[in-house]
Subunit: 555 residues, 2 copies
Amino acid sequence: MKLRLALAQVNPTVGDLAGNAAVVVKCAHQAQLAGAHIAIFPEMVLTGYPVEDLALRPSFQVASKSALESLARQINPQIVSIVGYLDHLAGRPQNMVAVIAGGEVKARYAKCHLPNYGVFDEYRNFVAGDSTLVVRIHGVDVGIAICEDLWIDGGITTQLAARKPGLVIVPNGSPFERAKDDVRLELVTRRAAQMNAPLAYLNMTGGQDDLVFDGDSIVVDKAGALIARAPQFEDGVMLVDVEVSTTTSKPDVIISESPVEIAQPLIPGIAQRLGDEEQMWKAIVAGLRDYVTKNGFTSVLLGLSGGIDSAVVAALAVDALGPEHVHAVAMPSKYSSEHSIADAQAMASATGLGFRVIEIQKMVDAFTGQVELSGLAEENVQARVRGTTLMGLSNQNGHLVLATGNKSELACGYSTLYGDAVGGYAPIKDIYKTDVWALARWRNRVAIEAGEVAPIPENSITKEPSAELRPDQKDSDSLPEYELLDRVLKAYVDEDLGHDALIAAGFDKELVIRVIGMVDRAEYKRRQYPPGTKVSQRAFGKDRRLPMTSKWREL
Amino acid sequence: MKLRLALAQVNPTVGDLAGNAAVVVKCAHQAQLAGAHIAIFPEMVLTGYPVEDLALRPSFQVASKSALESLARQINPQIVSIVGYLDHLAGRPQNMVAVIAGGEVKARYAKCHLPNYGVFDEYRNFVAGDSTLVVRIHGVDVGIAICEDLWIDGGITTQLAARKPGLVIVPNGSPFERAKDDVRLELVTRRAAQMNAPLAYLNMTGGQDDLVFDGDSIVVDKAGALIARAPQFEDGVMLVDVEVSTTTSKPDVIISESPVEIAQPLIPGIAQRLGDEEQMWKAIVAGLRDYVTKNGFTSVLLGLSGGIDSAVVAALAVDALGPEHVHAVAMPSKYSSEHSIADAQAMASATGLGFRVIEIQKMVDAFTGQVELSGLAEENVQARVRGTTLMGLSNQNGHLVLATGNKSELACGYSTLYGDAVGGYAPIKDIYKTDVWALARWRNRVAIEAGEVAPIPENSITKEPSAELRPDQKDSDSLPEYELLDRVLKAYVDEDLGHDALIAAGFDKELVIRVIGMVDRAEYKRRQYPPGTKVSQRAFGKDRRLPMTSKWREL
């Protein structure tokens, strides 16, 4: 027998119980009209995800539970809906899924394996469940697991397998990481084969704070063969007819015994995976768009220097919000090259974003006339005058300021605190400089292939990087060549290789000492951040929390 | 029989393996000279605590383990030392204690209960142990537990009790909270009685990042009666003779069977508890001093406005570092009152801190001449010019900038991002305004009672609070009276009471709506912080991690 599943790959907003419920109601209704028997929604779709410490707030727990009861009454009673929400067990929060049918909640399942590494803090925010759930739907015994449950070998899915489900449904809140789509498919394939049941893996989309969810929902048959796959970074409902086993076991709850027949079978689609640059670009665009809109802003503001970083951030913002919502300011000082303004102006003309020029020399002179500053302290004043100018315009006009720093320079501390680091969102803070260039070239190529104007001036891509804070300054005065630097940074920051391991990996000893020294000194520099700020690379799946006052040194 | 215990209430630094080992060697040697049989050190004394994600770095795991082996060889072989460190089990980090005697590690115990709430993230950073440890020392079966192990009812201490230890030793890294000393004593008393064994509870001192440890080490007899208690916030070794039971059970390891005799018994001391204000003051001073020194700074810089907040921060800094290491700048604008400079000057004269005046009007005029700014945007420019001035002096002279905001104004968003919020450390960010006044009065009273000059000008305490960013501005234009505001904030922020619960607690409905609105809007304002910053009240024991883009509203 086949069941028709509707996988609602949607983008909830944390805390927006009414808005998220409305999305569920609408999708379930559409799914029922399309003949689906089961509508599947992402992990904690009702509250949004991740809710972090909101989970601990009693009034929020009560509100989520009551929103679920109300949702059960509103939702189409003819379809079975699998809806994630926040419940509580004697006041202790649980990450749960409700099985809704006929206007009421028929069963509940609590996530058993709580991830508490990298970007996840679930052990902090939830109490783990400890038992499987199997519900009979149209005579099929359907097992449910939530996200991390699927990743743990010998965990709850082993217990679920022993109950011989005819179908397994897995709602997820699985953040985007580069090349994670391959890992996901391999996992889903393996688990389906282990449980000898078809598996529907449904993931959310959109940005939430510093995480991005890419969708990439997957359905496999009981041998693990891929049947259907949803596109990355797109909202929608994917309908799939799945051959299920009706050999019955002992379900916890019986919702319906009656078999079903599908009159008009659907041809399943397998969306193509995106290339590496396109994945990155779309992830950043989704994260930026949702950060702006979910925070109630309608426009952004950034400093446009003519260099590659601010040009790429401007192009991303235009793709995310449209040029009419992107405002850029060139803020030349006496050290700015002529091509800087020209390249910024070219970018504005190519994309149609709002553009103006504000000369900063008078402000800088007012500071240096009043306070004796030299060397680095004088260089930093220029960056801070720019930061104050952007924040003034932000306060005056309500734009969200975007910071334009990339991961290479932030990791090395090549940035001015309260200067170019100013901003509410930093779209490329997790992107190494070499990837920034790759993204720029990719985006221009896509435009040209579509017969559009390339958004990023060629000169911004090819010119030698410079902060232009003193005469003839180049990034290469202070940093190794980016090609080499980024390889060392990936190994030291992302992979946690130490001094000895880096040298064993073939890096030159002096280079290793230089880069480790810069990264560790940058940790110190971050002391000057507002208290509480830590090093973070969350959007691309890693969160590195280091004590500020640590005396630990690799060297 | 009695054993002499040496409780080393010391202040390790995270990552400083060599420095921490030297402290252990020195204290163990002193303890042995003083006739002690067992020297007890705090949780993870060798690595410092908390190490956060450093625990996950392979090179740090290896370094800790190798530092322990080397320490075992250096430490006085005649005394048994209980030393906390970081170990790993097949690469997975463990929070452990080693029992060292005769130049080698005789036994190891891994913490079984890992706290993962409030300021703790131990489930993220460690793998839990699962078994008790009992070692026989001079014929006495000594059980060991680590910090959280003691707090869990029905946990590992229940298993330990079943093994009938003759003495229980508990190394801790227990952060300071207001009035926590009473809770600790009650717990220690209860557990000793449950285990029917005397209990030695040893806690560390000092500041580490945004936590403060207050010492307050405690020894009770097997009935739970208090024998000895160390003073809060003071480093030192407390020697205590404890009557132990030699009824033997089945130890895991036998270190020595030979009984001991104490020739000259010690008279134990029970240090008096400090009053509420003194506890707070000393906690802030300890946190500030260690943040500055452990980060390698020698001096601090702050803006001194003549108001209460900056006056109290200056007095704290003088107590922490000495007046010669504290530099203050008055930065008057055209809206500053005459008394502002006079009061700042009076503070400088009373304490001897470094003081200068920098007029900011020219810098402000340069901005408003170049960019059209009005209202709040214009007010904020003044604060940001001050921030940029402080950072310029910091870059030029190497001082750490202190931010002077209090918890009441930060919670309500009554603060300028990149303006008065600038600084590497914010000593009173966890102190409500009414407590800031109480601290000022207390500190002056202590000075006067000691025949010293009161550090804080009376006028700074009694004047009406004002930001002085526009003519005749008062805090009360924007905020409820602080007495009332702070009560609502404590209930809403610290106790997580929602709208309904606040009204049920007797607060006026309109006031509740106003304060909740301000706090929730302030969450939005924090969007503009450098990415990664969250609301935090860590130093006083609470850490509130809220999603930035949440749409959840109490109202």
